[in-house]
């Protein structure tokens, strides 16, 4: 293929992956054009389908192809056909993250002031146990930390996600916050079985894991050069002992987060907090396994063999 002349262009039919029908037809597209170029061209013809909303595949039921792939590499220049899937309206990751995390902050504190509409008129004057005060402090700290990390630390490899995720994620975080906060701040709250020993042990576990989680987020930030989506293998750095967990798992940030919630649950001795811990662990395990597989695929033999996904030696 010579590559520069007009002769290298072809007529491309963009078909719907689900159902029948043509989205649009592009008369002259270069075989050297990438999927990203195609997205721009389709967006020009159909302004409603901005690039982040589009996804392409070779077969109606096939896998979505990457932005960097050229049409010629996909043999699309031979077939003249590509299948389009509408990902639906998109929303920025940081917007979703802010809504997800600001909610828990506000909702938890609403329960903490013990409003009469929820707990009855005399509730706010009743004494509150230390564990409940610390619970509010930890919850607030965790979500404030996340908001700050979203603003100052995280670099996202994708810019958008489907808008439905906003409702799903907010439902999860806000719902669990209400369920945890309702019981921890309840006037009939029962203090932990082993008293302050249990409370301070839980608090210590929580704080250590929060520090660990922050350390990993900072390390991951520095791993990815600004303005790129390049991937590298994360390794422990010598200056921060918390990062040593990278010797054992691919996603120590999740390991630490699980640890944080275990600490919180132990400290408050509240069933809904344990349930939140379990739900979070399940979800983070799924994510960690995905990421672990992606690392192993991207780096193959170079990737450290002894690493598991989230729980050292086990998962």
């Amino acid at each position: 293929m010579s590559g520069k002349t007009q002769g290298n262009t072809f007529r491309l039919e963009v078909l719907k992956a689900r159902g029948n029908g043509v989205v649009t037809t592009i008369e002259n597209i270069s075989a050297n054009a990438t999927i990203a170029d195609l997205k721009k061209q389709v967006a020009q013809k159909k302004p409603k389908l901005y690039p982040d909303r589009q996804s392409y595949r070779n077969e109606p039921t096939g896998k979505s192809v990457k932005d960097t792939q050229k049409l010629s590499e996909l043999n699309v220049d031979k077939t003249g056909k590509i299948y389009f899937k509408d990902l639906g309206p998109q929303i920025g990751w940081s917007t979703v993250f802010m809504a997800e995390y600001a909610g828990p902050l506000v909702i938890y504190l609403l329960f903490y002031i013990r409003p009469s509409i929820i707990y009855g008129s005399s509730a706010s004057s009743k004494p509150m146990h230390l564990a409940a005060h610390l619970g509010a402090a930890c919850w607030t700290f965790h979500y404030a930390k996340r908001i700050l990390e979203t603003i100052f630390v995280h670099r996202f490899s994708h810019s958008t996600m489907p808008i439905f995720n906003l409702f799903k994620n907010c439902g999860y975080y806000w719902g669990f916050t209400a369920m945890v906060a309702y019981f921890v701040n309840h006037p009939k709250y029962t203090p932990p079985l082993f008293g302050s020993a249990q409370v301070f042990l839980g608090l210590a576990i929580f704080l250590i894991n929060e520090l660990g989680n922050l350390s990993i987020h900072l390390l991951l930030r520095n791993l990815r050069p600004p303005g790129t989506t390049e991937r590298r293998i994360p390794y422990p750095n010598k200056t921060n002992p918390f990062t040593n967990l990278f010797h054992f798992v691919s996603c120590p940030n999740y390991t630490y987060e699980v640890g944080s919630w275990l600490g919180f649950s132990l400290m408050t001795q509240t069933l809904t907090a344990f349930l939140f811990t379990i739900a979070g662990t399940v979800q983070m395990t799924v994510w960690a396994k995905q990421k672990h597989r992606a690392y192993k695929k991207d780096f193959a033999d170079k990737y450290p063999k002894q690493r598991k996904s989230i729980i050292p030696f086990i998962i």
């Binding site: 019981f183 921890v184 309840h186 009939k188 709250y189 029962t190 079985l193 408050t268 001795q269 509240t270 069933l271 809904t272």
Partner: protein, 241 residues
């Protein structure tokens, strides 16, 4: 909320043991649900006042045992899907089964007042006819001998039976909610604070949430019409295989 569409298309070549097991399973459940339907009819024709009929006098006692066995056995279908005996998604099978299992154990069995309601009659009638056809269809389909008429029934009866069953389930749940609404009764059915796990649970509000879950009905009903069109007129819509 019932009928499991598309549930039991089997894998390419099931072993003889699998086939034998599925044959026994589906036959036993066909017989079980037939028994439930038979007992229900017998009970209903014995009624001679509207009051008996409205309260379904004695119906629950007559069908309780086979109903509990057959409905709980449906959990096995989740395992069938999990271990690949049938080709369906175990999670979807579970969601489809759970509402009926909950009605039997969590409503009728847990709150005995709810047993005396015409809702039980509506639900059990709809369930048993659906299940006799469904399990019969599965059993015969193991040998590809399911008559066309049975296929038609399986994909048509739901038009009436599904709304009927859901109505029955809702009526039963509402009867249960009316029963436990007074605070003194409700407390017996709920977990009260304070306790060591700091957990409280109000059964009345839990049932409110269950009722809200039934708003899923229209989606499910529509989905079943789509399945019906796919199965009964394969030419009108694209069909794989």
């Amino acid at each position: 909320m019932d009928p499991r569409k598309q549930s039991s298309t089997r894998k390419q070549s099931p072993s003889q043991l699998t086939t034998a097991y599925l044959l026994i399973y589906n036959s036993v459940l066909t017989i079980g649900w037939t028994l439930i339907l038979f007992e229900t009819i017998k009970r209903v024709i014995s009624y001679n006042s509207f009051g008996d009929f409205w309260e379904c006098y004695g119906l629950w006692n007559a069908i309780e045992l086979p109903l509990k066995i057959c409905q709980t056995a449906a959990f096995l279908e989740v395992f069938h899907a999990m271990f690949g005996l049938v080709r369906s998604n175990p999670m979807i099978v579970l969601i489809q089964i759970i509402s009926r299992v909950f009605l039997v154990w969590g409503v009728a069995n847990y709150i005995p007042h709810a047993q005396h309601s015409i809702g039980i009659l509506l639900a059990v009638t709809a369930w048993s006819i659906t299940e006799i056809i469904r399990y019969g269809y599965y059993a015969l389909n193991l040998f590809q001998t399911s008559p066309q008429l049975l296929t038609w029934c399986r994909y048509s009866f739901f038009i009436v039976l599904y709304p009927l069953g859901v109505t029955g389930e809702l009526v039963t749940i509402i009867k249960a909610m009316r029963t436990i609404y007074p605070e003194s009764v409700r407390n017996r059915y709920s977990i009260l604070l304070p306790n060591k796990l700091n957990f409280g649970f109000d059964y009345f509000y839990f049932l409110v949430v269950v009722l809200l879950a039934y708003t899923y009905f229209p989606t499910m009903y529509k989905h079943m019409f789509t399945q019906r069109a796919k199965t009964l007129n394969p030419s009108s819509s694209k069909k794989v295989n």
